[in-house]
């Protein structure tokens, strides 16, 4: 699974720490999601989508082989 979290964050001008604070996770979690090392749960993906006011599919999408 890949994501556009880093781009969305840049558009909204949020740091990793600020985004982490908004959805009650650690900065490490945001960092590992962005570098595709960690796949967030559905709840967390929905929370992130809510912050950016976009559907989840626009932020997280399946890759080939998923």
């Amino acid at each position: 699974m890949k994501n556009t979290l880093r781009i969305e964050r840049a558009i909204k001008n949020l740091t990793q720490a600020e985004l982490a604070g908004l959805i009650d996770v650690s900065r490490q979690t945001i960092n590992t999601i962005e570098s595709n090392k960690y796949v967030p749960s559905t709840v967390l993906a929905l929370k992130i989508a809510r912050v950016f006011k976009k559907p989840v599919e626009e932020i997280f999408m399946l890759e080939e082989g998923d």
């Binding site: 990793q16 009650d24 996770v25 650690s26 490490q28 979690t29 960092n31 590992t32 709840v43």
Partner: protein, 164 residues
Amino acid sequence: MSKILDFCKLCFTFGQLLLTIMKPQFLFPSWCRWLGLALFLVHLPVILICKSYDIHHSSTDTGLFSSSHLFFILTVVLMVSGLFVIAFSREKIEDEQIYQLRLSSLRWAIYINYAVLILGLILIKNNADYKDILRLNLWVPLMFFILLFRYKIFRLNRSLSTED
């Protein structure tokens, strides 16, 4: 027969009750980690003093609460409760990734524990040494869990500092 059935019913309702009052993720508050560390560190000098003065063999009284047994209980309980509290205290930010790391560390700790246990059972022939396996089993899963979990968190934090 009916008594057994009643007992089973009682156990079942008690179990149900326990499940409902149990929080899905019960952890100690994060300051408990330092408490656990203190308990664990306190037990070390106590053990050393015991070894150097050979307290174990000096007592002659028997019974459940003889001095040597009481001493043994005290030190082992200090160590195990210390490790237990360290292992299951909350992180500062306990999110789903930490939860996942916790579970995977726990799984590996159990693997290691059973590997040690099985190896011990194979290699040890002397009956008296079985007590040592039990003693080992007391701290191996908790200790390995703590080490693995800390190492994983350390690696997570290190990846953060290199990327951001």
